[in-house]
């Protein structure tokens, strides 16, 4: 399942995260919503927070697995 692959990539990239979730929004394996809560986001702009998530998901973004991605990030506070 593509959502599990995304979740595992996020867990590898954010081992310190207090919350990680990847949801297949449409059930078609290509539209996803991901949530990451991590202290690494503290003090970063939303753009830089989302860029870290994009970096973690670079492979599925490049190979076409992800057609649409919605991102929600939170810091630790």
């Amino acid at each position: 399942m593509a959502a599990e692959r995304l979740e595992s990539l996020l867990r590898d990239a954010f081992p310190e995260a207090s919350d990680i979730a990847a949801l297949d929004r449409t059930g078609t394996g290509d539209h996803f919503q991901v949530v990451v809560a991590s202290s690494r986001f503290d003090g970063l702009s939303l753009v830089d927070q989302h860029k870290l998530v994009y970096d973690a998901l670079a492979a599925p973004l490049a190979d076409g697995t992800i057609h649409e991605l919605r991102i929600r990030t939170r810091g630790s506070e």
Binding site: V47, H50, K51
Partner: protein, 129 residues
Amino acid sequence: MSELRDRIKDVIETEPVAVFMKGTPQFAACGNSARALEALRAVGAPITAVDILPDPQIRQELSAVSGWPTIPQVFVGGELIGGADITEELHASGELERKLGEKLGDGWQAPGQERVIELVEGGSPFRVV
């Protein structure tokens, strides 16, 4: 290649609010592009849109310039403020208006002011949406 990149940079640097999207404000070809537009419209931002669909090179060059892999991309006063999610999030928190004011100065509001810039001459007669 570099000529297109220069034109993209020029749009980013000179337009108050530049939105690189799929389709046009009149006909957004993607739900995320529509979400970003709605948030900008809700606060009365002037919108300059660039349709990235006519030529795949536009998206490649844009992402090389911005470091942002997905569409849409919203720039205010030359700065990437994000894609659809962040633009919506900033709108929900009231931060979007603050950012527009900070970047563009007083009198930035221009409800309904929307225009489209074509980066590729004539575009492609066959649009893949």
